[in-house]
């Protein structure tokens, strides 16, 4: 056993022992910062979900229901912006912030103060963006924010300026966080934890952070030029300039952003599947390579979002082929996950429910992506509800189901008590049914000619039935979320303490108490493989047998 050498006076100085609100504001403890990220992005999720509800209610039937076209455009713009920049990305940062130091056996992140700074910058960036609701009207040009629509001629008012400034601030927070993750994972791994013994979740956070670090500056630059166009009268992206250039810049960030949102979910299921199958991750090395490959390929496919803008046909062929090849490492991951369960001793507890659903839903999202990556088909399906369906199967069916699995798996570690398994199953089925009811019909609508981002549609287009089904599905998702909140509330009230290692885990975070002390570990087990806690259990069993 290695003993962590920590200087208690340092911990006191860091303020983690302070009580109350001041303790939270002053904290530099990665666990508290992680929790603040989780709660903040959870609240932004509620705001984003409310906006989604507005969108779905408006589309439930043809004709105007209760919001006008401008409000509608603001609602879907801010829904997407919120869910991407203020919910999914920071939620993974929060979960990673809490877990990565624990999983690699570190005392904290490498730069605790930078960590606190990135949280507060993120929070105020989000609040700044949302303040556009108060000062006038928020942006209404879609989260893609394409000029010339976002020029001051076609988007007068401050909405787009707030949007740009908000994204710039949040992007800065992201980059600070990414640097912190990279340095932490590079330098602070426990003795014995080589790269190839590192938990997959830490690996995915490592690759994700690289994507953030290399992609975000591109978006930052593009947005600053767009802001110049709006405020200084420059012509980078006006019709006198080159509007399509913005799309290149935007997607050079925003396609990797898809992987920024989904890779941590890959990490989560790669942690849950082995533990609940009582087997090592099948093809660990291949999964690491596949993750890295996705990280690289993710930078080479951005133009598949732009097949209809009239790119050089040869360039389109290249981007189409690169896009389709992303299916290869993703397929490798799929088969590795399936074969982790195969021949195992599979325990279907709540984290596994959501993990299996993640596999099934992400499979659909992956397959529908192949249709969209196909240039002639994309000319039909681009900018239709098919795309909206596809992206929600990836981001909701993938990221959010992975996130839910992560909550059920790590909840006892974070809060010291288990979530209720019975309520979890109600939550699961409602979320699965609501999700499919809402998003599957979108594929049908896309194939049947319904463009996305439209406020209204004609009754004679035959889209009404499916839109109504989707709106009903949205409410079922809402109900599922309420059941989840009830589960959180009731188990907190019952407050039955969880053991340090309720699931027979494999990774280091289960070696410490639930929740962990401020200094994370009293004693750190030795790391001789990718599953140090199993090694520890076996060693103890041997010692017990020997001792008898």
């Amino acid at each position: 056993m290695t003993t962590i050498t920590g200087d208690a006076s340092v911990l006191r100085k860091r303020g983690v022992w302070e009580k109350g609100i001041a303790g939270w504001i002053a904290t530099v403890d990665h666990k508290r910062i992680g929790l603040m990220y989780i709660v903040t992005s959870g609240l932004f999720f509620v705001a984003g979900a409310y906006l989604a509800l507005l969108v779905r209610l408006e589309l439930a039937l043809p004709g105007r229901q209760f919001i006008g076209p401008d409000t509608y455009n603001q609602a879907f713009t801010m829904h997407a912006t919120t869910m991407i920049f203020l919910f999914v990305i920071p939620m993974w940062v929060g979960i990673g912030n809490y877990l990565v130091p624990l999983m690699i056996g570190a005392l904290d992140m490498a730069f605790p103060r930078l960590n606190a700074l990135s949280y507060w910058v993120f929070l105020f960036g989000g609040l700044f963006m949302y303040s556009s609701f108060l000062v006038g009207s928020p942006a209404a040009a879609g989260w893609t924010s394409y000029p010339p629509l976002t020029n001051n001629v076609y988007s007068p008012g401050v909405g787009v300026d707030f949007w740009i400034a908000g994204v710039l601030i949040i992007g800065t927070a992201s980059m600070l966080g990414a640097i912190n993750f990279l340095v932490t994972i590079w330098n602070l791994r426990a003795p014995g934890m080589t790269w190839m013994r590192m938990p997959m979740f830490a690996w995915t956070q490592f690759v994700t952070s690289q994507l953030v670090l290399f992609a975000t500056p591109m978006l930052t630059g593009g947005l600053i030029l767009l802001l110049f166009d709006r405020t200084l009268g420059t012509h980078f992206f006006t019709s006198e300039g080159y509007p399509v250039l913005f799309q290149h810049v935007f997607w050079f960030y925003s396609h990797p952003a898809v992987y920024i949102m989904i890779l941590p979910a890959f990490g989560v299921v790669s942690e849950i599947l082995p533990v609940f199958s009582r087997k090592p991750l099948f093809g660990y090395r291949a999964l690491v390579i596949a993750t890295a490959a996705i990280g690289v390929l993710g930078f080479l496919v951005w133009a598949h979002h732009m097949f209809t803008v009239g790119l050089n046909p040869n360039a389109q062929l290249v981007f189409m082929t690169a896009t389709m090849f992303i299916a290869v490492p993703t397929g490798v991951k799929f088969f590795n996950w399936i074969f982790t369960m195969w021949g195992g001793s599979v325990r279907l507890a709540s984290p596994m429910y959501f993990t299996v659903a993640f596999l099934s839903m992400f499979l659909i999202g992956g397959i529908s992506g192949v249709y969209l990556g196909n240039v002639p088909l994309d000319w039909q399906l681009h900018d239709t509800y098919y795309v909206v369906g596809h992206l929600h199967y990836v981001l909701f069916g993938g990221s959010v189901f992975g996130m839910t699995a992560a909550f059920y798996y790590w909840w006892p570690k974070l809060f010291g008590h288990m979530l209720d398994e019975g309520i979890a199953k109600v939550h699961f089925w409602l979320q699965l049914i609501g999700f499919n009811m809402t998003f599957f019909p979108m594929h049908i609508l896309g194939i049947r000619g319904m463009p996305r981002r439209i406020y209204d549609y004609a009754p004679d287009r035959g889209w009404t039935f499916w839109n109504l089904i989707e709106t009903v599905g949205t409410f079922i998702i809402g109900l599922a979320f309420l059941v989840f909140l009830y589960n959180i509330w009731i188990t907190r009230k019952r407050n039955i303490p969880a053991p340090a290692d309720p699931w027979e885990g494999y990774t280091l975070e289960w070696a410490t108490t639930s929740p962990p002390p401020a200094h994370n570990f009293d004693r750190l087990p030795p790391v001789h493989s990718e599953r140090p806690l199993r090694d520890l259990r076996l060693a103890r069993a041997r010692a017990a047998a020997g001792g008898d």
Partner: protein
């Protein structure tokens, strides 16, 4: 399962496992068939799956290229369906077929990987995606044909929020001087003749899309992409019919109201229509007549944004209702910065079946409301006219109708509906339109119309 299974003998366990395999595979198959079935049927003809004759379904193609894309879709769906059922079956089988029966179960064999298997599932998917890419290479090539004889060229210019359509037909004119005319929102084309639609935009990015005829293409303002010239799409309608199109790139407030129709008719019918369209009607000669009064009024107001191609007694286009350039060359005409080209060309507006971005059926009631409450019917429009003299509204309507095509030319075209179904525009969108229908539409201040409600609320 669970604890009850703990006492089972190994043969029982084997039986249960094989039963689970069956259940998992059956479940995957059912899920797969339901989803694939829905997708397949979804692409089937317009009327399937709660659709109508007017549903612009990929599965009701009306041109060779759209048909080929639909075939490609079907082929990929077969491959995707097989992959889905196999992988989904494997997921369910692995999750359900190896369930833990008791917490006392021994740890299963600790397999860390299998190089052969992992190589296989890298190579096989690579082959599949290469195959898929190859299928689409061929399809793509077909859409980049550059010159086809007999082509009808139409330049589609996106405005917020309608499409202006400039025709240039070499078959009907001469090669050096094709027959030209301008219309909007309703594109009449001959069946069996290739049509090349060139894209342009005067404000933001729009996308031209008629699903049953071709894929969509963006209309980018100031298009200068890599020397490939303006974006375009090709199509050649195989069947007579009315095909619905819609702008597919977010372009602001009323993006959802930027619809248009392509009406494919027999070539002779098209030729008659095109020749009639290219003729310029005579301006009203009597300034005291209703149409004459309206024309005087229109020259001052409407012509700031709209062109009206009318000629004087000598057959010369009247400059006041032309572009800025034409006005400048005419000495006594007030210069208009906007050049009369922001709104759709009004010459034959009364001969279009719909107006205002395809949102309203062209009839007296709708037109009357439009001339007084355009901003309510089309939120965000620049057509924001102050309260007008009701008599002048009637005059304007009389003037526009006096410029219309002969009924013998246009009525047979408007009788064409989707897929041979007779045309019926009752399902046209726009809550205000429906309200107008219900209430006879005569009352411009109809508080029951939802769109008016909005307007009143927003001005309160």
């Amino acid at each position: 399962m669970g604890n009850a299974m703990h006492k089972d003998s190994s043969s029982d366990t084997g039986r249960v496992t094989s039963r689970l395999i069956m259940v998992a595979l059956a479940a995957a198959l059912v899920i797969g068939l339901v989803l694939a079935g829905l997708l397949a049927v979804a692409a089937f003809p317009s009327s399937a799956l709660f659709g109508t004759a007017r549903t612009p379904a990929l599965g009701s193609p009306a041109s060779l290229l759209a048909g080929n894309v639909y075939k490609l879709y079907t082929r990929i769906s077969w491959i995707a369906g097989i992959v889905f059922v196999l992988v989904q079956g494997a997921i369910l089988y692995a999750a359900l077929g190896f369930r833990r029966r008791s917490d006392d179960d021994p740890e299963p064999p600790q397999t860390h990987g299998n190089n052969t298997l992992e190589l296989l599932w890298t190579v096989i998917p690579s082959m599949i995606v290469l195959g898929l890419a190859f299928l689409s290479f061929r399809e793509m090539r077909a859409e980049y044909v550059t010159d086809v004889p007999d082509t009808l060229v139409v330049k589609a210019t996106g405005f917020r929020w309608y499409w202006a359509l400039e025709y240039a037909d070499k078959n009907l004119g001469q090669a050096s001087q094709p027959l030209t005319f301008t219309t909007a929102t309703e594109m009449v084309i001959p069946v069996g003749r290739p049509v090349k639609v060139l894209m342009d935009s005067q404000d933001v990015i729009h996308a031209f899309w008629v699903p049953q005829l071709s894929g969509k293409r963006d209309a980018v303002p100031g298009d200068r992409d890599g020397g490939y010239g303006a974006n375009f799409v090709w199509f050649q309608a195989d069947k007579v019919g009315r095909y619905e199109g819609q702008c597919a790139e977010l372009c602001g407030t009323w993006h959802s109201g930027m619809r248009f129709s392509v009406i494919a008719v027999e070539e002779a019918m098209y030729d008659t229509w095109a020749k009639a369209m290219a003729e310029h009607p005579k301006a009203p000669t009597d300034p005291t007549s209703p149409a004459g009064q309206a024309f005087a009024y229109a020259k001052g107001l409407c012509a700031t944004c709209h062109m009206i191609d009318v000629v004087d007694a000598n057959g010369t286009l009247i400059p006041e209702t032309q572009t800025a350039a034409a006005r400048q060359s005419a000495p006594d005409v007030v210069h208009s910065e906007m050049g009369g080209t922001r709104g759709p060309n009004l010459t034959r507006v009364a001969s279009r079946s719909t107006f205002a971005g395809g949102m309203f059926e062209m009839n007296d009631d709708n037109l009357r409301r439009w001339l007084t409450h355009a901003d309510v019917m089309k939120p965000g429009t620049r057509m924001n006219i102050p309260a007008q003299d009701p008599a002048m509204v009637e005059n304007l309507m009389a003037f526009l109708k006096s410029l219309a095509l002969a009924p013998s030319v246009i009525d047979p075209i408007h009788a064409v509906g989707p897929h041979g179904v007779p045309n019926d525009l009752d399902g046209l969108g726009g809550a205000a339109d429906e309200a107008a229908d219900e209430n006879g539409g005569g009352d411009e201040h109809d508080a029951k119309a939802p769109a008016l409600d909005t307007h009143l609320e927003s001005t309160r």
